[in-house]
């Protein structure tokens, strides 16, 4: 089971590491703050509680920057 992650210059296949693996889990793994990000699942905006499915494309967009 895997999904595609698109974030900045990253475009990679990643394993779904557990049952009910959510976008929030992914953000924690990447050590980025959920507050500064929005997430898209297969092109549609979703909230961080969304469970990632096999074959999903998850895109993260940073919306808050310093300065």
């Amino acid at each position: 089971m895997s999904f595609t992650l698109k974030y900045k210059d990253i475009n990679e296949e990643r394993e779904i590491s557990s049952d009910n693996y959510t976008i929030k889990d992914l953000l924690n793994e990447l050590e980025v703050s959920a507050q500064t990000m929005v997430s898209k699942q297969n092109g549609e905006l979703v909230i961080e509680d969304t469970v990632i499915n096999d074959g999903d494309e998850i895109q993260l967009v940073q919306i808050i920057y310093g300065g």
Binding site: K40, E44, I47, I63, G66, G67
Partner: protein, 306 residues
């Protein structure tokens, strides 16, 4: 999970401050309605106004332009825009290009002013100097001067900036904690200066959290410049912002309550603290100033740019 308003299962945001869940359409509508409510409540616009939007191409200014444009479409106001090019390599140009495209798309009068043309020096060049006073001091002062001047030249009656809820709460806390009461009295949805030369400034997004503006532009697919300035660094504002966001995790309404509290005491503060306005003029450029030179001109003098 369902949208609290229409029942659509495609929820895009959970508002921690209210527990509300919203789908894309209901979220977009709620942001636009809230801004329009602020405009009405604070009487930010008068019929016939020509509003100059300070358009950097970032999410806040693009959202300000987008929502104010609905008033233009109803023929309530006219809109023009100004973009300041500070001269920051590998950063500013993208924002400028995006600003130009939005102005074109909406068919509004737009001006790009570069610090290089205006003052003969870029921010990058200032930062090469030995004893500069920090990028953001110059940036803020020069930008303000350029925007005020553009407002006069373009015949604008109001200047709209993209300050959001987070910006405003940070400013309240910063000024309070630093004991800077003079600046504290100057915040608010509408800042009026007694000097006629200063155009009235309005902040239509003042009650919208920064994060929601980010989600709004992504939901509406508005082109914006998402990037951080290479000079953005650890500042007091940054520290304050961290503390407030940390508090907001357990107390999700804290930004709103800080804003409401400030709005209640602002009138009293003003009555008690505002000194008589200094009627002086800058010797060099004629801008209102309580000192011999205005801030911009004294920076230019120090930099040897006059």
């Amino acid at each position: 999970m369902k949208c609290s308003k229409c029942g659509n299962p495609k929820v895009i945001i959970k508002r921690e401050q209210s527990g509300q869940l919203l789908c894309k359409d209901c979220f977009i509508e709620s942001i636009e309605k809230k801004v329009i409510k602020t405009v009405r409540k604070e009487k930010l616009l008068d019929k016939g106004d020509k509003v100059l939007v300070a358009l950097s191409g970032g999410k806040d200014s693009v959202t300000t332009l987008e929502i104010l444009n609905s008033f233009r479409e109803m023929n309530v106001i006219d809109i023009c825009a100004v973009t300041v090019d500070e001269g920051i390599d590998n950063y500013r140009q993208d924002g400028v290009d995006i600003a130009v495209r939005h102005a074109k798309r909406l068919g509004i009068e737009h001006k790009v002013v570069s610090l290089k043309e205006e003052y003969g020096i870029t921010l990058d060049e200032i930062m090469q100097r030995e004893n500069h006073k920090g990028s953001c001091s110059y940036c803020g002062v020069f930008r303000r001067t350029v925007i005020n001047k553009a407002a006069r030249e373009m015949g604008a009656t109001k200047i709209a900036t993209g300050h959001n809820l987070d910006d405003e709460v940070q400013a309240i806390m910063m000024n309070y904690l630093e004991g800077n009461m003079d600046n504290l009295t100057k915040l608010g949805a509408k800042t009026e200066s007694k000097a006629e030369e200063f155009t009235v400034k309005i902040k239509p997004l003042r009650e919208i959290p920064e994060r929601e503006i980010g989600i709004y532009v992504v939901a509406k697919e508005l082109e914006v410049h998402f990037d951080s300035c290479p000079y953005a660094m650890q500042s007091f504002r940054g520290e304050i912002s961290e503390v407030i966001n940390q508090l907001a995790e357990k107390h999700p309404t804290i930004k709103y309550s800080t804003l409401r509290g400030y709005d209640k005491i602002k009138g009293i503060l003003k009555n008690e603290l505002v000194k008589d306005y200094a009627h002086g003029r800058c010797e060099k450029c004629g801008e209102p100033s309580s000192n011999r030179l205005c801030k911009a001109c004294s920076f230019l003098e120090e930099l040897g740019c006059d």
